[in-house]
Amino acid sequence: MISDLLRIEGLRVYYYTRDGVVMAVDNVDLFMKKGETIGLVGESGSGKSTLGRAILRLVPPPGRIISGKIVFDGLNLTELSEEEMRKIRGKRISMVFQDPMTSLDPLMKIGDHIVETIMAHETLTREEAEEKAIKLLEQVGIRSERFMDYPHQFSGGMRQRVGIALALALNPDLVIADEPTSSLDVIVQFQILDLMKELKNLYGMGMILITHDISIIPGIADKVALMYAGQLVEFADAKSFFNEPLHPYGKALLESIPNIQHSDQKLKYIPGNPPDLINPPKGCRFSPRCPYATEKCREEEPPTIMVGRHRLVKCFQY
């Protein structure tokens, strides 16, 4: 357990809105080893982005981390001062954002973005930082003559490459990629995912890949963490998850991926809507949509059970 890069225990992040308290992340446990990639999957509003941001302590107000521990390489991030946390951001844990169109400063040159990142943490001269930035850009496939260009001169895919270069600028131990490909078209999506895979092998950092698109997980993630309504419902290595998902939500999700080999089949979907996180359903939060739900599921919250050696599932069936 000591070799864990990141260990999240009992994390709760609530948003205090006017309509009530939104329990966006509710009692989540998660652990990852150095160099591992976790695919954090869930539908919109399941708390996956909030969880990602909570690791960097960047939950936007009115959100707050209520309780729980985020232990990163032996440091409890929830107890650090703002200045200590700033030193970790970008340097040891960094983030790739969903929308590369708006996550770059429109008035800052591409190269300066990276130079600023480097200079925020390292005492280099500007020339050294620029040299490093050029190398980084070339690594993500951007020619050095575009160093002085502005973000609007780049396409979405190119900007996301810049976003990746920014996240990798200081060789962090952990990269949180929040839907890095969701705003790109399919072909560019695969280019970006390939690039991320390639760079991950090169740098050996750990990665949390947040996505609502479960189909991009195989091939890039070692583990899958499945979130539903603010809770982690299944945590398993990717292979076993795709072979045999344990949680009914995971099963339903995999069944709803279109399969071109059986085009005569009707596309399956999960009936109902994700629950309201201000008043979540009693008992298991998936029970109103679960085909296997029993009376007990509707009354009591299921415990998180260890199945096999490394799989966790939050369901009464096991």
């Binding site: 700033r86 983030m95 954002f97 708006t102 502005y150």
Partner: protein
């Protein structure tokens, strides 16, 4: 806003400034021409002015405009043209100085207040709003009475009047900018607060400053004229349009029109210059303002 970037903006601005681009391009050119003429006058006042502006009896008393005194002389026999030329120096010094000071103070405070937020922001905003609640002229009069006469006191009282305008504008922009993804992204790479404010947020709020600057300059010219019209602004030895207007106004009943008309005309012209320039700039930089 996020998609409007500096290089794009400048090129589109330049392409729009040509007179063919219609009325707002014309506004800018005419406004700029007026402002530059006055600046030229102010700089070369010692060369351009035919007489010493304070020297009495260079001609007769109340001489009507004639080839020797194109704008006539006033009740002390001073040359009105020379007083107007030297007066442009006074008005431009006060206007530009107070604009520089008020924008520097207002923008900096707005940036910090908007970024820091919390109680500091609430307190500062409340203070600025209470300043803003006063009509500008009333506030300027009160301050000028308190601070006394002279270029600096007048400049300071005008500065105080305009600081809240910059503060409010910049603060509101920072509030929305603070939530934008690129600021969050900068925070996620561990940028310091100071870096965030001055390297990421500040460049993005700059485009809204020149418009307000120019429109405020127009207002400042009027306020300064009003102060010296009331005898509150500048001591008598500094030539000033507002003061001359007051003096000329007294002679109007005797059908002596020139001592009041020319200073008044200058005030109108310079105000018009700044307004035209500001409006034209607003049209071009910010299409949303065009309804104003």
């Amino acid at each position: 806003m996020a998609n409007l970037t500096a290089p794009k903006m400048i090129t589109s601005m330049l392409s729009k400034i040509s007179p063919r681009r219609g009325v707002e391009g014309l506004f800018i050119i005419v406004g700029l021409a007026i402002i530059l003429t006055f600046i030229f006058m102010a700089i070369f006042a010692p060369v351009l002015a035919p007489y010493d502006p304070n020297k009495t009896r260079v001609g007769g008393l109340y001489e009507s405009p004639n080839p020797k005194f194109p704008m006539g002389t006033d009740r002390l026999g001073r040359d009105i043209l020379s007083r107007i030329i030297w007066g442009s120096r006074t008005v431009l010094i006060v206007t530009f100085l107070s604009m520089a000071l008020s924008s520097a103070c207002g923008v900096t405070l707005g940036l910090i207040s908007g970024y820091v937020g919390g109680k500091f922001d609430t307190a500062l905003s409340l203070f600025m709003d209470s300043l803003y609640a006063f009509p500008g002229l009333i506030l300027a009069i009160a301050l000028a009475v308190m601070l006394g006469q002279g270029i600096m006191p007048v400049t300071v009282s005008l500065t105080v009047v305009y600081v809240p305008i910059y503060f409010r504008m910049i603060r509101s922009e920072v509030l929305s900018m603070k939530e934008s993804l690129f600021v969050e992204a900068a925070r996620a790479i561990g940028a310091k607060g100071r870096t965030l404010i001055f390297k990421y947020i500040f460049p993005n709020v700059i485009p809204s400053i020149p418009i307000v600057l120019s429109l405020n300059a127009a207002d400042a010219v009027l306020t300064l004229a009003a102060l010296s019209f009331l005898g509150l602004g500048l001591p008598a030895h500094i030539p000033d349009w507002g003061f001359d207007l007051r003096m000329g106004y007294g002679a109007l009943t005797a059908k002596i029109w020139w001592p009041g008309t020319f200073p008044g005309l200058m005030i109108v012209l310079l105000t018009l210059g700044f307004s035209l320039f500001g409006e034209g700039l607003a049209e071009i930089l910010n299409p949303k303002l065009s309804g104003r």
